[in-house]
Symmetry: C2
Subunit: 192 residues, 2 copies
DNA sequence: AAATATACTTACTTAGTAGTAAGTAAACAA
DNA sequence: TTGTTTACTTACTACTAAGTAAGTATATTT
């Protein structure tokens, strides 16, 4: 009657994937271990076995997101900077199509209700994205491929804000928002 | 031992004000009726007396926000359009100083967990803000006071995204974000 | 073959949460 | 003065949440 313990932590991966989806679709405070356990056909306590506290699960989700982001951006390294920014917007558009919002947009509203350790992880994620985009914009301007006023850091904040919030807005007013916003953003950056 | 029933619905107003604060600081799904009742020194059931279900309370909070927005913007009517946009950014900066995020930023992540009636109210709020800013930008461009590429509607979406998300980002990476972002946004709009 | 570790389940506790039914003091209206 | 409405409180129900302790089948090591 017992299930195969086929290979180690297959269930663990499924739990994290489900949690990731739930954080993005529902918000961190709006899902429970039951919402993870039921569809995977395991028991509540099995989730607690892998992640004793909900914060542990949240931290893992954020950590994997940071990992994913770093590996994606490093794969774009050889592309010209304007193409790299396009890649970034495509990541967000894909999320939008799946009905997901970005982790930052989902976790920032609840930020104060998160454990200190999880807050730290979210900050780490924010900095990873901001630092990468700042670098990319700086470099792109030097190469004459991107054009914008002000510091690269402030421009990075503006662009990330746009991407993040466009996913939120899309959910309320419909998915055309993300397309319109990203297209205009790229046009702004490309024009001298 | 009973309290004065001094004037009608004084308590009701306090409940809505407290709910508004809690939605903005914690998120709609992260506060309970106890969090409202305890600091007001009333009982849980008193909140249910005024707002039978949590969604009723949420709807009232959003409705009052729409009301507040309409009355504010109508007071700016005589100002030049660029000044009106400045006023809008000031509203957001003030929220930032109080540690609040905007209602849209707080409710959009949880959107799918909200009742249909509340979803409709949130959409109404989004449209009120977008429509106003679209009009304002359109008019400002016609007057030669504001400069931007693309449609006024898309530009309105971009600016609202920025304001909204800058409050979220501020919470995670610190409050300098909102200042930097709003200043750059205004500079962009003013420059030919 | 025995001991141990892994990956769970069963069964539970504790602590909320939204929501309700019934009662009550004060204000107000007929 | 009686009746009714307003604005609550008291005391609950039904449910869900996170988290835990103890047991068990399988796999791995010794």
């Amino acid at each position: 009657m017992r299930q195969m313990a086929a290979n180690m932590s297959e269930t663990r991966d499924k739990i994290v994937a489900m949690a990731d989806r739930l954080v993005r679709t529902q918000g961190f405070n709006a899902f429970s271990y039951k919402d993870i356990a039921a569809p995977l056909e395991i028991k509540n306590a099995a989730v607690h076995y892998h992640f004793p506290a909900k914060a542990d699960l949240g931290i893992e989700v954020v950590e994997q997101e940071i990992e994913k982001f770093r590996s994606q951006t490093s794969r774009w390294k050889k592309l010209p900077e304007d193409e790299q920014v396009v890649k970034l917007t495509e990541v967000f558009r894909r999320h939008s199509q799946e009905g997901n919002i970005c982790l930052m947009g989902s976790l920032a509203p609840d930020f104060r209700t998160l454990s200190p350790a999880m807050q730290a992880k979210v900050l780490e994620m924010a900095n990873a994205i901001i630092d990468w985009l700042t670098q990319c914009l700086e470099q792109g301007r030097k190469q004459g491929r991107l054009h914008f006023k002000g510091t690269a850091h402030t421009r990075a904040l503006i662009i990330i804000s746009n991407l993040q919030a466009s996913l939120l807005l899309s959910r309320v007013i419909g998915s055309s928002a993300i397309r319109d916003i990203t297209e205009q953003l790229l046009a702004d950056l490309r024009q001298k």
